[in-house]
Symmetry: C2
Subunit: 335 residues, 2 copies
């Protein structure tokens, strides 16, 4: 029985630096290590899979796609340890239906996303987007009427209270304890442990908080759930931050509200369509901070995803359940 | 004996909202309240001072300047409660020399400055300055080579360990415990209580930390102390943040280092000359985030300065020492 590690040099440097590759090799022994850039065709890849017939496959962005009829090519494959996030373009849904065990970076990257959310909330308060253009292109400076806000003591509303939101709560606490969340599926005990108030509705969340952070998972139910009315109800001088999923928001409505309300500060890392189209009305708006979906993980913290993968390989080899194996609903809602 | 409160409506709204004006009035009774915008000339102001001859004067930005020969005009004046920061343009040095008691917003605004420092450090890590221009003006998006960094686990070096730096340490702790400071005048006990390592020299601080935050007070000794060599020694992909005093840094050298090292991310809220000259080479640089000296306090937290003033008035009236009365060295180094 052999295992297969199919990563580029760059992926190894970013996910498995500082001895992690050696640890992976020793855990997976006997293991074949292949640089996907050396594979010249799909046939070569399928040939490798078939010849090696691994039990465990360690993969990342550059690993070629797995075949639709996976059992015919790699009959012994039991576990795919995918180091990045979405496997949507890497493996067929049928593989999960047939019981293949798959893990990804899962919650190991949530710290960097919550860090990005805090950055964006702080940047909205100081209007960093506006000042960047004023200072660099317009020779600007403040005047007597310049308004700036602090996050200190502000009401923060979280749409969603998953792991990223929970870690964000800890980052927010030095600034404010006035935190609410709307997340019907999360039990009261988690709200209580975090010291977060439960909002009765999304309407309450948006209209009764100064800073809204969008963190809801994308499902059929949440798609387009953040409407023009909700966005328009955010209090004066409020902020809307999205580090979750772009399609949870009606993006055309968001652009309209942004153009109508210069008091509202918006910061986005995610979009309905990515890359964000070059002609998106969001580009150019002075009250909208834009980042190109780099919430998490940052390149320097991809090693956390590597550590998470190593932990899951150890668990698998000991016959224990890996952390957060992918199920079909996670597969379907991945971006 | 009368007291005098000389603030505009706007200053009252910003410093003394939500019942604070009423509290000030009742503490200062009998008190005369005058809007400085109603004073038509310097003579009118001096006439008012002379007629009222207050013991306590509450003042802010729009209060007209006090006369050079203050005792001749307001012989009973004992205490000036100046609600904002620098009194340099408001009262003559001789007033302090003659024993006038003066307080300003002092440390009550340091929380918002430390908040701004954290924002700027996080913004450097994600290259917000760069991405703002790329996303808005150049239709940009990330690619395979996009590098982003997190503050998590990074080495942070603080130049100065006064109150703002101490509060910043608390804001940094959720991200990193790897914090050093260079501040010869601060005793070991404060370093120990904060869990901050003492850097042996400014050279060590700059060359052995990833993120440098400039917070040293401006004195004859610190003026221009941050040289080209120091700035150039910051490690690859490092960051330099200044929320302290612009003139501590050799600004021409900073601009040179910024143009030579695109890996170095810089974020500035303060400058050698303010407003920052329109032709400053810093304007336009893609690795330099610029804000127009709005670190602190934000307009919404000026009420903290109002509370601080009220506390000092109560202390004065009880015959206690106010907090942080200005001395001549503070007067001389104010901006």
């Amino acid at each position: 029985m052999k295992n297969l590690l199919c990563l580029t040099r760059r992926e190894i440097e970013t996910f498995l630096p500082d001895g992690r590759l050696e640890e992976a090799r020793s855990l997976l022994e006997p293991v074949r290590c292949v640089d996907p850039l050396s594979l010249e065709s799909e046939e070569a890849w399928f040939g490798l899979l078939s010849e090696c017939n691994p039990e465990i496959l360690v993969a990342a962005w550059k690993t070629p796609q797995l075949p639709e009829d996976l059992p015919a090519v790699a009959s012994d494959l039991k576990y795919v340890c995918y180091l990045p996030g979405s496997v949507r373009h890497f493996l067929p849904r049928s593989a999960l239906e047939n019981g293949l065990l798959v893990t990804n970076w899962s919650s190991s990257v949530s710290r960097t996303v919550s860090e990005c959310a805090l950055l964006m909330a702080l940047a909205c308060m100081r209007r960093v987007r506006y000042w960047t253009e004023e200072m660099h292109s317009n020779g600007g400076w403040k005047n007597d009427n310049t308004e700036t806000l602090s996050l200190i003591g502000r009401r923060v509303g979280l749409h969603g209270l998953g792991l990223i939101a929970q870690q964000l709560v800890e980052l927010l606490k030095p600034f404010t304890r006035n935190i609410s969340a709307f997340s019907p599926s999360v039990p009261d005990s988690i709200f209580e442990d975090l010291g977060v108030r439960r909002s009765a509705s999304l309407e309450d969340l948006f209209s009764q908080n100064d800073v809204i952070v969008e963190l809801a998972a994308l499902t059929d139910k949440t798609r387009g759930m953040v409407t023009e009315d909700l966005l328009g109800s955010i209090p004066v001088n409020g902020a809307f931050v999205n580090v979750g999923r772009g399609a949870v928001v009606d993006e055309a409505a968001l652009a309209r509200v942004a153009s109508e309300r210069s008091d509202l500060q918006i910061a986005l890392d995610v979009y309905s369509i990515e890359p964000l189209p070059k002609d998106s009305p969001l580009r150019g708006m002075k009250n909208v901070l834009l980042l190109p979906h780099l919430g998490g993980p940052t390149t320097d913290r991809r090693r956390d995803a590597g550590d998470h993968g190593l932990k899951n390989i150890r668990r698998y080899l000991r016959g224990e359940d890996p952390i957060d194996p992918l199920d079909l609903s996670m597969y379907d809602r991945a971006s």
